[in-house]
Symmetry: C2
Subunit: 264 residues, 2 copies
DNA sequence: GAAAAGCAAATGTCAGACATTTTACCGCGC
DNA sequence: GCGCGGTAAAATGTCTGACATTTGCTTTTC
C-alpha cells in the first residue's frame, strides 16, 4: 500500500512509531511487502530523518519490520511479531479492526492458559489481590447491560482478568496480562456490532465471573481452574476455537490441527 | 557500579547493546541505580555517540532502563523488564550467573504452564512436530551422562521443549518458547556445578521425557498433561518452587504466597 | 553470452551544533 | 534562618549535512 492514506499529523514524540505500528498491525502492509523509504516518510509527515529513524528502530525492535542497508525495509511475517511486548498489545487494543486470525490465536492461548493462572491465583492471592478482583467485579456488575457504558465495562473486564494474572504472583504470568486488553476490547466491540448474540449471555457471564472470584477467595485451586475454564468456554465456542460444549460437556475439546483457515 | 569492570571491546554492531544488557541482566546495576552517562560510555568503549545512543535505545525498548532528559538513565525494576522479548531471553541464556530469583520465576511459570501446552500439543501435533520431538529425544539419549557433551545435551533438551511449544500450533505459546533456553541452560550448568545431586536422576528424567513424547504421539491429551507435569516436578522440588512431591503425591502443591524470599 | 566494472538507491554512520529538561547552587529579600 | 527565584551546569533530545556501506541493476568488455 501507499503512504497516501495515512494521516499526515501524528501525536507527539513516539506518535510516529505508534501510527506506523498500528498500520502494520491492522494489516495495511502485508508480510514480505516493502515498507516506505525513510525519505518518503520524512516528506509525508514533514519530520526530520532522525524522528523517522527512531520510529523505524522501534518497529525493528518489535519485530514488525526488518531493515537492511541498500535494500530497504520489509514487513516481517506475523510469526515474528513480538506479540508479547507491551507496546504491541497497547497498540493493538486501539485498532478498530485487528487481524481476526491474530485475535483467535490470542484467545486460544487464553483459553488454554487462564485455568492454570486461576489455579495459581487461588493458591497465592493476598488481600490486596482479592480487593482488586472485587472492585473490578463490582464495576462489571454496575456497567452490565448499559450500551453507553460498554467501554467502561470492557475496562472492568480487563481489570478483573489482569488482577487474576497479578494474583498468581509470578513475574512471567503478570507480564502476559498485557495480552488481555486487545483480546477483551475486541470481543466487546464485536458483541456490540453483532447486537448481542446472546441476550441472556451477559448475566450468565457475570455469574461465571462471580464463581471464579469466589473460588479464588476460598483458595480452592480446583474450583478456580474449573471456573476460569467456564468463563472462557462460551466465547471460545463463538469464535470457533473449541467445539460446542453441549456435545462433549466433560472435557474441553479443541479444534482439529488444520482448522486455522476456517472463517470466524 | 562503575564502568571499569566491563570489557572495553564489544563484538560488533549490536554488540554494545548486548554487552550492556547482559551486565544489567546479571544484576551489576541494581534497579533504581543510575546508569552511566552517554559521554562516559563513548569514552570507555571508544565509539561514537550514535552507537551508544542506539544501544541505549535498545535497552529502553526492552524495559531495562528508563531515560529522561536532564536527569540521566536509571535502571528499571525487574518487574518492568521485558522477559518475554527474544533478545532478553537470548542474552540471559549466555550469562554465567543470571539472577537466581528470576530463574525461579521462569521455572515456576513453566511448571504451571507446560502441562497445558503439552495438552494442546497432543491435540494439534502434526507429523513434522513429532519428527522434531523424536530427533531431540534421540539427541538427549545420545548425550546423556557424558559431561563433555553437556552443552549439546542442553541444546537437545531445549529443542525438545521448544518442539512441544511449537506443536501447540498457537502463535503465543510458540513465542513463549524463547523462555526455555535460559531456564534449561541454567539448570544444566547448575547440575554440573553441584556434581549431579541426583546421580540416577538423569535416566529418570529421560524416561519421563520419553513418556511425554509417547503421550503426544498417541494424541492422549490427559496423559500428555500428566507427563509434562511429571517432567518438571523433580526440578521444581529442587528449586524450592513446590513442596516435596512425596508428602502430597496426588496434586501439585505450590509454595506459600510469601515464600519468595527463601534462598535457593 | 558471461563475467566484471560501474552506477544509482537505499540504509548506516559520523561529527558538530543547538534545544530542552532537570538539578543544584547561590544570592536576595523577608 | 527560611523560603524564593534566578542562573548556570549537566544531562539527554534533536537537527543538519556530509559521507560510508551495502545492494541491485545496468552497462561494458572480452
Amino acid at each position: 500500500m501507499t503512504l497516501a492514506s495515512l494521516p499526515r499529523h501524528q501525536g507527539g514524540a513516539d506518535g510516529l512509531a505508534r501510527l506506523l505500528g498500528q498500520a502494520l498491525l491492522a494489516g495495511r502492509w502485508r508480510p514480505g511487502e516493502t515498507f516506505p523509504r525513510e525519505r518518503d516518510l520524512c516528506e509525508h509527515f514533514a519530520v526530520s530523518r532522525n524522528q523517522v529513524r527512531n520510529a523505524l528502530a522501534t518497529l525493528v525492535a518489535l519485530g514488525l519490520i526488518e531493515r537492511t542497508a541498500g535494500r530497504g525495509s520489509v514487513v516481517c511475517e506475523i510469526d515474528e511479531w513480538h506479540l508479547l511486548d507491551p507496546l504491541v498489545s497497547a497498540w493493538m487494543s486501539d485498532i478498530e479492526t485487528p487481524d481476526a486470525q491474530l485475535l483467535r490465536e490470542i484467545f486460544a492461548f487464553r483459553h488454554s492458559a487462564e485455568p492454570a493462572v486461576a489455579r495459581l491465583a487461588a493458591q497465592a492471592a493476598e488481600a490486596e489481590d482479592l480487593e482488586r478482583l472485587e472492585v473490578a467485579y463490582r464495576g462489571m456488575r454496575r456497567t452490565a447491560g448499559r450500551p453507553e457504558a460498554s467501554a467502561q465495562h470492557a475496562e472492568h473486564d480487563v481489570a478483573f482478568h489482569t488482577a487474576i494474572y497479578r494474583a498468581s504472583h509470578n513475574l512471567v504470568w503478570r507480564q502476559m496480562g498485557h495480552l488481555l486488553r486487545p483480546s477483551i476490547v475486541a470481543l466487546i466491540q464485536r458483541s456490540q456490532a453483532h447486537l448481542q448474540p446472546h441476550p441472556d449471555g451477559l448475566e450468565d457471564s457475570l455469574v461465571r465471573h462471580g464463581r471464579l472470584l469466589e473460588a479464588i477467595r476460598g483458595r480452592d485451586a480446583d474450583a478456580a481452574e474449573a471456573a476460569a475454564a467456564d468463563v472462557l468456554r462460551r466465547t471460545a465456542v463463538d469464535l470457533g476455537i473449541v467445539a460446542d460444549a453441549a456435545s462433549r460437556p466433560a472435557t474441553v475439546p479443541v479444534a482439529e490441527p488444520n482448522a486455522k483457515e476456517r472463517s470466524a
